[in-house]
């Protein structure tokens, strides 16, 4: 464990303690997120750190780390820009947005700008088709984004601003985000309240409310029958 701060070792122990005794290997994914929060990617040293903690070989850890796309094998930028180019986002503008950012940033898929500011990727479905086309910056959602808006988001980031995502929390760096992915609460108390639900999320509920629709016959005191009674 030489070269690793007491703080990160303490966090690693905390992660391992979440899982049942004898099942420590379950901690591997969060530990790899933890490594990424420290180094910005999963380096050979990071692989060794996890292997030593869990009593695994480096090959076992590398085999897992290389399976999952969120573990970066080269240092990633501060801002990971993921453009959804799956079918729905693709037809509604995602393909064009990805091309615009590729030209604007001068990097391709899974590449980082030379100054280490941006990593660009095209993402598979980001589970936000009702907000399509979407992109995320460090996994926070920017909804209904077309190419010109995407370029402006990137420009503001380059200028040192932090544009507010539509639904996620205020932006933090990829390393800070990785600590949360390792299962540690966001240290910014206000972040959890950021990002109110957008109109598509509420569309059906609002329609029902506007027309005064409720499901009839709902009585929270309905008794729970015994198993014998109901058979």
């Amino acid at each position: 464990m030489t070269g690793w701060s007491e703080k990160i070792q303490e966090r690693a122990r905390e992660i391992i303690a979440r899982y049942p005794a004898g099942r420590e290997r379950s901690a591997l994914l969060p530990l790899l997120h933890l490594v990424q929060s420290e180094l910005g990617h999963v380096s050979p040293d990071g692989i060794g750190f996890c292997a030593e903690l869990l009593g695994l070989t480096r090959a076992q850890v590398a085999g897992v780390a290389s399976f999952y796309t969120m573990y970066k094998r080269a240092p990633a930028g501060d801002w990971l820009v993921s453009v959804c180019t799956n079918t729905m986002c693709g037809v509604l503008g995602g393909d064009r947005t990805f091309e615009a950012l590729r030209e604007h940033l001068g990097v391709g898929h899974d590449e980082t700008t030379p100054d280490g500011t941006f990593t660009l990727e095209h993402a598979e479905c980001l589970a936000a088709c009702d907000y399509a086309p979407v992109l995320t910056v460090n996994y926070e959602f920017f909804d209904r984004v077309q190419a010109d808006q995407a370029v402006s988001i990137v420009e503001r980031l380059r200028a040192g601003e932090r544009p507010a995502p539509d639904r996620g929390a205020r932006l933090c760096t990829l390393r800070e985000m990785s600590l949360q992915l390792a299962g540690f609460a966001d240290p910014r108390p206000e972040a959890v309240a950021d990002g109110p639900a957008g109109e598509p999320t509420l569309a059906g509920a609002r329609l029902a409310q506007r027309h005064g629709i409720a499901v009839p016959g709902y009585d929270p005191d309905t008794p729970i029958k015994s198993k014998e009674e109901s058979q």
Partner: protein
């Protein structure tokens, strides 16, 4: 925008989504003001077996795509076997088109936590996990916050509300592998391995997490449980059909006026859903659609009145899936849709089974060739042949799912394939390796 008809409006069943309208319902105090944790108190006063029976009586079927009866799944857990039991919530939402669990976890995370406590009590589990998709960071943030609040209030931990029941919940973030939404791959991933599906039997009910009895349920399924405990099985069955009862969150996206989440009774039709979502966009005419994500074979305008429930979709040779209703118009190309989805299956195939790993690799290239205007008649046959070698020949349903967009697009839109092959339709890509034609052009107006 026209108002929906009374018949369509009558299909709305705001149950799970109703609380979403209250700002900050993700906070415990707000959740409690809106009946939160009353179902837990009621459930803890009942016998666990009675709760399993209640879920069986309700007819609730899994909301993650397969529609397996939830009560039966819980009933498969062997009791008094001396082994630890586990509940694992599948929150690895990522099937193209599917977008219901993320908004639920962001807007109302406590309903999932409360459902988990009740479920764990029923199946006698003292440890539960939420495997949440890694990219869903804001959902994970809200869940971590909710679990901490629940722990502070005595809803989690030891001797919950004086019942003697103990439960610990762990929020476990994935790392970007769609295949981990497959329940056995999810379990392998949660155990710290590559997420690859297991051969079944044995099933997770007896040999799940750490080879112990395990229930794996989808987010929406578990979030339904508190309402079921409060309102009862008969009330639940007042919605939907006999074999597909209850409310269901339909995620409607695409060429419609108001895309979004519409919670309706099972059995609603696409015609009614389009009405509820404000109609098609001006100038767009319905061409093809998926009832429940990319793995469910696409349908056409012919199927506007087919009931969107488990049986109704089987009757038209597709599946209900995750009720991710993606609506495409005459301005969208079904071959492009199949290509993008196969790109996805190629990227996300875990590589364990040869037909899926190799089949998607080749189909992606063949589709690309067709879209580049360099396809042949043989290519269409090759695609069908590849699908025949995929279907039913992989460990998990992912391989079968990959065949769906290809076979269904050929079935309904063979002419479009032929139009590309025979040069009647302009290629979407200038060459098999170039970027899409519309993406490379028209960037002049983009600000620099």
């Amino acid at each position: 925008m026209s108002e929906p008809s009374g018949a369509a409006l009558a299909k709305l069943t705001p149950v799970l989504t109703k609380r979403w309208l209250s700002p900050q319902a993700w906070r415990r105090e707000v959740y409690e003001q809106l009946d939160g944790y009353t179902a837990l108190r009621k459930a803890l006063a009942a016998h666990p077996d009675d709760l399993i029976q209640l879920v069986k009586d309700s007819g609730l079927r899994g909301r993650g795509g397969a529609g397996f009866p939830t009560g039966m799944k819980w009933g498969f857990i062997p009791q008094a076997d001396g082994k630890p039991h586990y509940l694992v919530v599948n929150a690895d939402e990522g099937e193209p088109g599917t977008c219901k669990d993320l908004p639920l976890m962001m807007a109302d995370p406590h309903s999932l936590i409360e459902g988990m406590i009740i479920t764990s009590y029923a199946i006698r589990a003292n440890r539960a996990f939420i495997y949440v998709r890694g990219e869903a960071v804001h959902a994970a943030r809200r869940l971590l916050h909710a679990a901490a609040e629940a722990r502070a209030a005595g809803y989690l931990g030891t001797d919950i509300l004086g019942s003697g029941f103990d439960l610990d919940v762990v929020i476990h973030c994935g790392a970007g592998a769609y295949i981990c939404g497959e329940e056995t791959a999810l379990l392998d991933s949660l155990e710290g391995f590559r997420g690859q599906p297991r051969l079944r039997p044995p099933f997770p009910a007896t040999h799940g997490l750490y080879s112990c009895p395990t229930v794996v349920n989808n987010v929406e399924t578990i979030a339904t449980v508190p309402y079921l405990v409060l309102g009862g099985a008969a009330w639940f069955r007042s919605m939907g059909t006999e074999k597909s009862p209850g409310p269901k969150i339909y995620s409607v996206s695409g060429r419609i006026q108001n895309p979004g989440q519409y919670e309706c009774e099972l059995g609603i039709t696409l015609r009614e859903l389009i009405e509820l979502s404000g109609g098609m966009l001006p100038g767009h005419e319905l061409s093809f659609w998926t009832p429940g994500g990319s793995s469910t074979p696409m349908l056409t305008a012919e199927h506007l009145d087919a009931p969107l429930d488990f049986e109704g979709m089987m009757a038209v040779d597709t599946m209900l899936g995750t009720t991710a209703v993606q609506v495409f118009s005459d301005q969208d190309c079904p071959v492009y849709a199949a290509y993008r989805w196969i790109e996805f299956y190629h990227h996300e195939s875990c590589g364990k089974c040869t037909p899926c790993r190799e089949g998607n690799y080749w189909m992606k290239q063949v589709l690309r060739r067709v879209l580049s205007g360099e396809g042949t008649h043989q290519d269409v046959a090759t695609l069908q042949d590849t699908c025949d070698n995929l279907l039913g020949r992989s460990f998990c349903a992912f391989g079968d799912g990959a065949a769906s967009p290809v076979l269904s697009s050929i079935k309904h839109f063979r002419q479009v394939y032929l139009d590309y092959v025979e040069g009647r339709r302009a290629p979407l890509f200038p060459t098999p390796t170039a970027r899409p034609a519309w993406a490379a052009t028209d960037l002049a107006g983009v600000s620099r």
